[in-house]
Symmetry: C2
Subunit: 66 residues, 2 copies
């Protein structure tokens, strides 16, 4: 599972902490998702998709091993 959160944050110029606050999770959760340590729930990916005004399918993409 790949994602473009880091790039989207850069576009909007917001920190991991700010994104975390916007979607209601901890900063470590955002960091862990960005670095591929785990995959978010659909609830969380929809919230992230809201913040970035981009579809879940554009932000998150499956890889072979998923």
């Amino acid at each position: 599972m790949k994602n473009t959160i880091k790039v989207e944050r850069a576009k909007q110029n917001i920190t991991q902490q700010e994104l975390a606050d916007l979607v209601g999770v901890s900063r470590q959760t955002i960091n862990s998702i960005e670095s591929g340590r785990y995959v978010p729930s659909t609830t969380l990916s929809l919230k992230i998709s809201d913040v970035f005004k981009t579809s879940v399918n554009e932000i998150f993409t499956l890889e072979n091993e998923d």
Copy 2:
């Protein structure tokens, strides 16, 4: 969290078991998601989105309490 899985299954005329096999989970997992007992992982919602050729955002929508 609402979803349109039941409707999409009806459109494609496939059973819970068939969808479960297509995405690699148990039938009970599909049933539980359809009946709102829990929310799928992003991995699973992307796979479901693949089967239905519809975006995750169209299939799953947040509600006030999410």
